[in-house]
Subunit: 198 residues, 2 copies
């Protein structure tokens, strides 16, 4: 079966956003990355900054600590509310039209759908460090530190909401190293697998 | 750069051997899987059964326990001797001619070579259970149990000799789920990436 939904999970700085955008363009699919923030902000009334920051990244230092954060007797924190809203939106988008969705545990949310291709894009730290400086500029923190922080926050968030290990090959149909293979090859592979008829 | 060496790490029952053989055929490369056992047996005098069993699988229940197993004051166990022999052979084979090598931590042994493509082939347990019965027949242990045992032994062996996590996407250029994508697609992807000029 041709894949009508492609989810891209990605390490910070690996070029996952670019890969996703180019795959969407090549296949004529809708593309959702930051666009999800806008939708969720409208739906929930949460601020764009909060959604951008907490939508994929844990503010706690472990999945265990995260489970206590901001939860009251009713059991729902603002982060849980955000996750539930993102989840609902992703399910709606996936049903609406063929699309590429970047991040936000979409692989887990759409798990088991045979029309969905789940991809993980990763790269070595040197490639990612050079790329985040090129894409987002320098900050007072070193690129290596920014990578370590983002990796950790995304991994905890993913683990907390999916009970799966971030970056384990078993969660994905396809994992690609953009550092060694390059972005062009990654795009070609994903497009050709999405089009393949199995 | 075209890839002249392809290593295939694979979960038991995922079809990694078949994928590797077909990739080698499509590219006109040499193919090494069980062939390595013959070479190492000649070189070391170790029995084929020992090499087959211990060449990729830890007899201990953890990497920590493994580090004590059969090691004397000189620090080398039979397993270490086997690993060293396999390593030497893999380096020689990689230098000799373009090839596909299945298993035996070849990805780690050849790490850093830009002419080498490291692939991990995995699949869900249902796919693998059906496949091992089809390929190797029934035994008194259930296919699920055989998978659990092999996975665990290979993971410990890999961890012990490479200090890396078995099945973590970061160790590989490409990871492919043969359960969801099928063996044909896996072969096509690997061949096209191996031929790509980056």
């Amino acid at each position: 079966m041709q894949k009508r939904i492609i989810t891209i999970s990605r390490e910070f700085g690996s070029g996952g956003h670019t890969v996703g955008a180019r795959v969407a363009e090549a296949l004529g699919y809708a593309f959702y990355d930051k666009e999800i923030i806008e939708h969720v902000a409208e739906e929930t009334g949460l601020s764009r900054a909060f959604i951008e920051e907490q939508g994929e990244e844990s503010p706690a230092k472990s999945a265990f600590a995260y489970s206590f954060l901001g939860r009251n007797a009713a059991g729902m924190s603002l982060e849980d509310y955000l996750f539930a809203s993102q989840r609902k939106l992703i399910l709606e988008l996936a049903d609406k039209s063929p699309c590429v969705i970047v991040g936000r545990c979409a692989d887990y949310i759409l798990k088991g759908r045979t029309d969905c291709l789940n991809v993980f894009v990763h790269a070595d730290k040197e490639f990612r460090a050079a790329r985040i400086v090129e894409q987002y500029g320098e900050t007072d923190r070193s690129p290596e530190k920014r990578i370590r922080e983002k990796d950790k926050k995304r991994a905890i968030n993913y683990k907390y909401y999916t009970e799966q290990e971030w970056g384990s090959a078993n969660n994905y149909d396809l994992c690609i190293d953009t550092g060694t293979l390059g972005i062009d090859v990654a795009v070609d592979v994903i497009v050709s697998v999405a089009k393949s008829d199995r």
